[in-house]
């Protein structure tokens, strides 16, 4: 009599999450295009892009939750994978500018002309072709994660040490991308984009499409992560998080499981970066800064580590707060608020918003399940 209570691919919260995403990708375009600009419910295009940016952050947070929440890998360098995906997309967008740049060079992006370069560096080849750039969005972060993870996990670097070397990795990339002779635009990065796949990047329709694509990517990313963590593979991941030694003695190669999760996570972050860049219009080395990567951890902690939905929710909430507070009088204090938020969540809401909700729901369900057993539990004294 094997009753196997396997959680559904999409739990209640998953269905709500996808429904909200779907509703947003229908409502936002309608409110942007079909509602008069002077109406109270009109969504201006800059807000569409802002929301689109939040969604890419949500996907980035999801990628962190997959490895931090389910495998216990606290990566403080996830921003590096996001930025690499962003750079791959940025290179494609640069190549689309063509002769419309300030210097009007048909091949070389402006910054190369400015640096007096005569020809396109070899690593820029192919980026004028979208499918190649799209492949690089996955491969650049994926291969970095594969190589980095291969060495780190095989050497059994775990815990704080792993966090520190992920941070060192993103910091090294930050320094490298700052250099002009790296060939990625140095300090200024890549910007001044014109077209994406032939569509004007500033046009309302393009912005809306990017927003909807971001929602779609987030939705698919969520379903993929859910599928992974529910599988036998995912159960091994959680087992590694909780008792890695036991997993090894049970005959699983923990390092391979970590590596697969790490690479998938890096690719998701790369996709998020690629969708982020056309919506904000710039990618520069500051995306590699360790502070960015730490911020992602705060989003996930606020929303609820190991819940997937919580990571996405946390990303949107914290970034909404960031937009709200950094555009007013409180702007200079934002970092204090962010730090305070992290401390407060760690102290008072260690499981984050969604994790706390799950606990509450579980407690209530159990309360309902167990029929009144007058002798089992000591009741309140009368």
């Amino acid at each position: 009599m094997s009753i196997t209570r396997q959680p559904a691919l999409l739990g209640t919260s998953g269905i709500i999450f996808l429904a909200v995403l779907f509703a947003a990708s229908v409502l936002v375009p309608v409110l942007n295009l079909a509602v008069a600009p002077d109406s109270a419910v009109h969504v201006p295009t800059y807000v569409v892009s802002l929301l689109g940016k939040y969604l890419t952050y949500a996907l980035l947070a999801l990628s962190v939750d997959l490895i931090w929440g389910y495998v216990g890998i606290l990566s403080l360098g996830q921003g590096a994978f996001f930025a690499l995906g962003g750079y791959a997309m940025g290179m494609y967008l640069m190549r689309q500018i063509g002769t419309r740049g300030v210097y009007g060079d048909p091949v070389l992006p402006d910054f190369m002309v400015f640096l007096n370069w005569k020809e396109l560096p070899w690593f820029w080849y192919g980026f004028d072709w979208f499918p190649f750039a799209a492949l690089m969005v996955l491969l650049a972060p994926g291969i970095l994660a594969l190589v980095f993870g291969w060495f780190a996990f095989r050497s059994r670097v775990t815990g704080v040490y792993l966090s520190i070397i992920t941070q060192a990795m993103t910091f090294a990339l930050l320094l490298a991308f700052f250099r002009n002779d790296m060939g990625f635009g140095g300090n200024n990065g890549l910007t001044d984009f014109k077209d994406i796949l032939g569509f004007n990047i500033q046009a309302d329709g393009t912005r809306l499409t990017l927003f909807v694509l971001s929602a779609l990517a987030l939705g698919l990313g969520y379903v993929l992560c859910r599928f992974l963590v529910r599988s036998h593979f995912g159960k091994v991941l959680v087992a590694i998080r909780d008792a890695e030694t036991r997993v090894r003695f049970t005959g699983y190669r923990a390092e391979n499981y970590k590596l697969v999760a790490f690479v998938v996570s890096a690719m998701l972050a790369g996709i998020a970066g690629a969708l982020y860049v056309p919506q904000v219009g710039i990618i520069n080395p500051s995306e590699f800064s360790p502070a960015n990567s730490i911020e992602i951890i705060v989003w996930v902690a606020v929303g609820g580590r190991g819940t997937l939905v919580g990571a996405a929710l946390g990303a949107v909430l914290v970034n909404y707060a960031k937009t709200y507070f950094t555009s007013g009088m409180l702007a200079p204090y934002w970092l204090f608020m962010l730090g305070g938020l992290f401390v407060a969540v760690t102290l008072f809401l260690p499981k984050g918003i969604v994790g706390t909700y799950y606990d509450w729901r579980e407690k209530r369900r159990r309360h309902d399940d167990i029929p009144a057993a007058p002798l089992a539990a000591p009741g309140p004294a009368e």
């Binding site: 009599m1 094997s2 036998h232 008792a243 036991r246 190669r253 391979n256």
Partner: protein, 270 residues
């Protein structure tokens, strides 16, 4: 050819002569294994063999090297010197890591019960069950009917059937110990290394655990049990080996070993 001496391990007080490894029929064969930590000799030329289907109890004072011995066998610690062979001398365990050794058929229960606390008891057994271990195929792994049956059997053996949907972390200490033994069974190892299975158990649980291990042994698994609880060791009714300062002090039946002057001096007390 002096393998007859080895086949008759009836002289417990005499250390076995160092056989040639290809001649050994023992499941597990340790010869002159030495492990040093910062100058401290945790194991000092430790030699012993475990026969296929044998159950062996290991006793000895704290620091005698019991846990280090298990670490060496399971690949957690590499010996400085000495041979560790498995499967009749065919496999050199000192060249393999924990995962490879586990796959070969050596299961280990830790001193502190180690189960997957955030998985249900059922999932704990599913994860341990002998089967696919590679990462990518396990993304699409589906549980077979045979696997379900085997898990039900193990539940019967470890007496946790009614707890299958509870989280591993919610079990009592004794139940966790049983679950961990069940996970070992699910791995279907040739050899089980069991480190202090009854620590913290009630007398009734201790007796049940002895029965459980005897049952496992009767089903053809070799078992090495490290334990301090002499009542439990007596319940097991198997050959006993007393370790002291990293080598075998005495070996034989419990009565023989507990009558040994040196054992009384260093371990049992007068």
């Amino acid at each position: 050819m002096t393998d007859t001496a080895m086949l008759a391990p009836s002289t417990p007080s005499e250390p076995a002569p160092a056989e040639k490894k290809e001649l050994t029929e023992a499941l597990l064969y340790l010869d002159a294994v030495t492990v040093t930590f910062d100058g401290f000799r945790a194991l000092n030329a430790l030699s012993f063999t475990v026969d296929p289907g044998e159950m062996r109890a290991v006793i000895g004072p704290n620091g005698a090297g019991k846990t280090t011995m298990m670490d060496v066998i399971t690949g957690k610690t590499r010996p400085d010197r000495g041979d560790v062979f498995f499967n009749g001398g065919t496999t050199d365990l000192t060249k393999l890591d924990e995962t490879q050794i586990a796959t070969l058929g050596i299961g280990r229960k830790f001193q502190k019960p180690t189960v997957f606390e955030n998985h249900t008891v059922l999932d704990n057994l599913r994860l341990a069950l002998k089967g696919q271990r590679r990462a990518l195929p396990n993304i699409f792994h589906r549980e077979s009917a045979a696997a379900r049956e085997r898990i039900d059997e193990i539940f019967e053996t470890i007496r946790l059937t009614e707890h299958r949907e509870r989280l591993g972390g919610a079990l009592s200490h004794g139940q966790k110990q049983w679950l961990e033994i069940g996970m070992l069974l699910a791995q279907d190892p040739k050899l089980l290394l069991v480190d202090e299975p009854v620590a913290g158990m009630t007398d009734a649980e201790t007796a049940q655990t002895a029965e459980l291990l005897r049952e496992i042994n009767a089903n053809g698994h070799s078992v090495v049990v490290v334990e301090h609880d002499m009542t439990f060791v007596r319940d097991l009714g198997v050959r006993v080996m007393c370790l002291h300062e990293g080598s075998v002090l005495a070996e034989g039946t419990l009565d023989q070993v507990s009558a040994n002057e040196r054992v009384i001096e260093v371990y049992l007390g007068r």
